[in-house]
Amino acid sequence: MSRKLTMIQAITEAMDQMLAQDPRVMLLGEDIGINGGVFRATEGLVEKYGPERVVDTPLAEAGIIGSAIGLAMNGMIPVVEIQFLAFIYPGFEQIVSHAARMRYRTRGQFEVPMVIRTPYGAGIRGPELHSESVETYFAHTPGLKVVAPSNPYDAKGLLIAAMEDRDPVLFLEPTKLYRAFKEDVPEEIYRVPLGKAKVVSEGDDVTIFAWGAMLREAMHAAKKIEEEQGWKCEVIDLRTLYPLDRDTILSSVKKTGRAIIVHEAHRTAGLGAEIVSLINDEALIYLKAPVKRVTGFDIPVPQFSVEDAYLPTVERVQRGIVETLSF
């Protein structure tokens, strides 16, 4: 059975069902209790599972993430909510120097199975530092997994998979999509495997890689390109940003010979560069044109009056496709 849910509902349901099923699961974060989280992702959960399992913490991200590390090492499965991605920075050391390394450091003797959920990305007219997309920092950190769903179905399945994963997972939720649309989501517990990209639509002329909120821009652009120019784009949702699903990336590019990467993050040293490099490494001879990066710019995500100009737009993606196809 499935019903239509928004992404935020799908996320709530994933946590709800895992709390119900596994007593080791605990939620930690600022305002996630009675307030249900600033985006209402934990709405109703403290009422159902009590304040010992759905914990309003003090306002201190190193404290939250660091104590979650301890909880995870001692048998719990903590799911941390960070209010916005930029507010993860006070806990950066805990993530990079500890969560990501505890297994390595102890040769597998201790592990840190935890999930850090956080809204990310622009497009909701947020104040400064509420719209960041710095997945690169984490995709450059061995020991972490990084996930970014683009739709309700994947959000639930990926979050459950993340909670069952034995490694720390950073779970990036595109704020802009929380309530953007509804989609069929099965009622039961199911998994969408980490590390697997998804071919969202098939095509032969060019591959578009995207994730999170950018997937919709990519799809939109692909549709317009098909309507206007008749070219068929293959659109791939990466879903997991670390480890990347290289096979899916390469087999598509080997087929199309052309690729575009769309991401909100700054261009320089963004994850797009790694995808370009994977293609360079293994599929250079298939390339009929340079791989194109359509990305956020190399400036701080600006105040919201101009955030639409910061973000890749359908038109920017379209132009990228045209450039690539007419190279």
Binding site: L59, G63, E128, F297, V306
Partner: protein, 372 residues
């Protein structure tokens, strides 16, 4: 007056203790002690006027947000005495580090109203302060500005300037590591920094009892052997005198002060927040309004002194509304944000990648960039 650190007891006079916080003006508008030589009638009037202005500004802002003319806004109504009183105790050249909620302090210290409108309208120019002023942009990441206020004060001290720095922050901010590091640094380097905490009892939905096992914030000062004072944050005289003395101490080279001002925000955390979810909003907010309102309290005193009356208030209201409307007009007439401008000021000199991206953006500009 409750002072949490020994070496401070001497310097602050212990005029009045009510409950466990320093008060000068009772909730009924009575003075607990004489203000002779400290606060004269004209300053009192000035305090009242400023509180009135910022309250009107705050209400206007909430309304603008509701009408969709402004983005999310963080209201401060109820906290006027804390913000206005502390800001009035500063000298014009002092450095101010406000949060997203401290517009009243910023306005009193010289920020233009239209800039604050611009800020919440999402304009890149909303964080600029008037030439020569040191009013920092509203600080978004909690507690992080506290260490900056150590640095600026430290620089002032090194330069031999008689300039203090004040950091505003909330009760929730006291849980962050930066709070600790800032207080400790300021204690070690004896910087003229005022750490001004508005304890409004909540960090969004989280009440202070959940924030810490400690009963007060002022008591934390002892951990750094610096003075910690708890004041009635709705008593503008108490706030003003406390901050003034803290500034003087700092400028005498005696180091920082931690001030905990007990107050309450009547409204929501931001316009995106619904306080009914986490507290008995109507009752608790009404109680604060009725019993402890910072304006009403001062009004009573001014009335008794015969320097306030309804007519004067109406005049003020008219003038202030006009002033606010002028600023709003200025903000709303402000040139639409030019996306191409967002590439400026990332560096002193624009590097090649940003320059090219600016061109890239420019080429889209006329056609498809929606500007709000």
């Amino acid at each position: 007056m409750m002072v949490y650190s020994e070496n401070h007891r001497k310097s602050f006079d212990e005029t009045t203790i009510s409950g466990d916080m320093y008060q000068v003006l009772s909730e009924q508008g009575e003075l607990f002690s004489s203000l002779d030589g400290k606060i004269d009638d004209s300053l009192m009037l000035h305090m009242y006027e400023k509180m009135l202005l910022v309250r009107l500004f705050d209400r206007k802002s909430v309304n603008l947000q509701r009408q969709g003319r402004m983005g999310t806004y963080a209201p401060f109504e109820g906290q006027e005495a804390s913000q206005v009183g502390s800001a009035l105790a500063l000298s014009p050249g002092d450095w101010m580090f406000p949060t997203y909620r401290d517009h009243a302090a910023a306005i009193v210290h010289g920020q233009d109203l239209y800039r604050i409108f611009l800020y919440w309208m999402g304009h890149v120019e909303g964080s600029i302060c008037p030439e020569g002023k040191r009013i920092m942009p509203p600080c978004v990441p909690i507690a992080t500005q506290m260490v900056h206020a150590v640095g600026t004060a430290w620089a002032s001290k090194r330069k031999g300037e008689k300039t203090a720095s004040i950091a505003y922050f909330g009760d929730g901010a006291t849980s962050e590591g930066d709070f600790h590091e800032a207080l400790n640094f300021a204690g070690v380097f004896k910087t003229p920094t005022i750490f001004f905490c508005q304890n409004n009892g909540y960090a969004i939905s989280v009440p202070f009892e959940k924030q810490s096992a400690s009963k007060t914030i002022a008591q934390r000062a002892a951990a750094y052997d610096i003075p910690g004072i708890r004041v009635d944050g709705n008593d503008i005289f108490a706030v003003y005198l406390t901050v003034k003395e803290a500034v003087e101490r700092g400028l005498r080279g005696e180091g920082p002060t931690l001030i905990e001002a007990i107050t309450f925000r009547y409204g929501a955390h931001t316009t995106a927040d619904d306080p009914k979810k986490y507290r008995d909003q109507d009752a608790i907010s009404q109680e604060w309004r009725e019993k402890r309102d910072p304006l009403a309290r001062l009004q009573k005193l001014l009335q008794k002194k015969g320097i306030w009356n309804e007519k004067l208030e109406e005049q003020w209201l008219a003038q202030m509304n006009e002033q606010i409307d002028l600023h709003l007009e200025k903000a709303e007439r402000y040139p639409k944000a030019d996306p191409v401008g967002m590439f400026e000021h990332v560096y002193a000199v624009m590097p090649w990648n940003i320059r090219e991206q600016q061109e890239e953006c420019r080429s889209f500009f006329k056609k498809d960039v929606k500007i709000s």
